[in-house]
Amino acid sequence: MTDFDNKLLDILSRVFRIDQGEITDNLKRKDFEPWDSMAHLMLISEIENEFEIFFEDEEVVDIWTVGDLKKILNQKMSP
């Protein structure tokens, strides 16, 4: 578990108010009730502030699972 993963898990558990153990890559926005549009926005802005990056509109819309989120983050963080 890297520092990056820990930070991401921390943000996810804080935004959705769940334990870090409950978070899997398959967690879907569509069938997970706490992940509504407002939580999505909070999640995006928390991640932007923490990792000092910026998501384009298209990227925000395309994040549907925690796996998607990790994939996009990896693309953005690798130089």
Binding site: S37, M38, H40, L41, I44, S45, D57, V60, V61
Partner: protein, 148 residues
Amino acid sequence: MGKFLGRFLRILAWIAPSYQFRASVYRKCGIKVGKGVYMGFLVMMDGEYPEYIEIHDWASIGPGVKIMAHSGASPYHQRRRIFHEGPKKVVIGKGAWLAAGSTILPGVTIGEGAIIAAGAVVSKDVPPLTLFAGNPARMVQKLEPQKD
């Protein structure tokens, strides 16, 4: 009817019972309001430049929404030329829904069928069939009509 009468009518448009009546009072104030527009309580629209605001058919304006067409700044700023912006056109597209307490800034066009979440502050154009939220408002989701 113009701006002068509009200044008095606007108070009526805030608190009048029934949304059709509030919408038609805003029409009298000089704002272009289409048919079937829902107008909530305490909707605040730019009183100085009503002719710059256009609301298309079947749009839904929630309670406490603010729509501004100009940003005037204080006389201090205007005199010292620190900040002054003239009016810019605001268009609310067909069937768009502005939820309670959202703020629309000058020059913004809301696309057809878009949703603005409660309390959002919209400073840039919103494409059709999208959900915008937050301050400043950002795209959160694309809306897909259900097919039968």
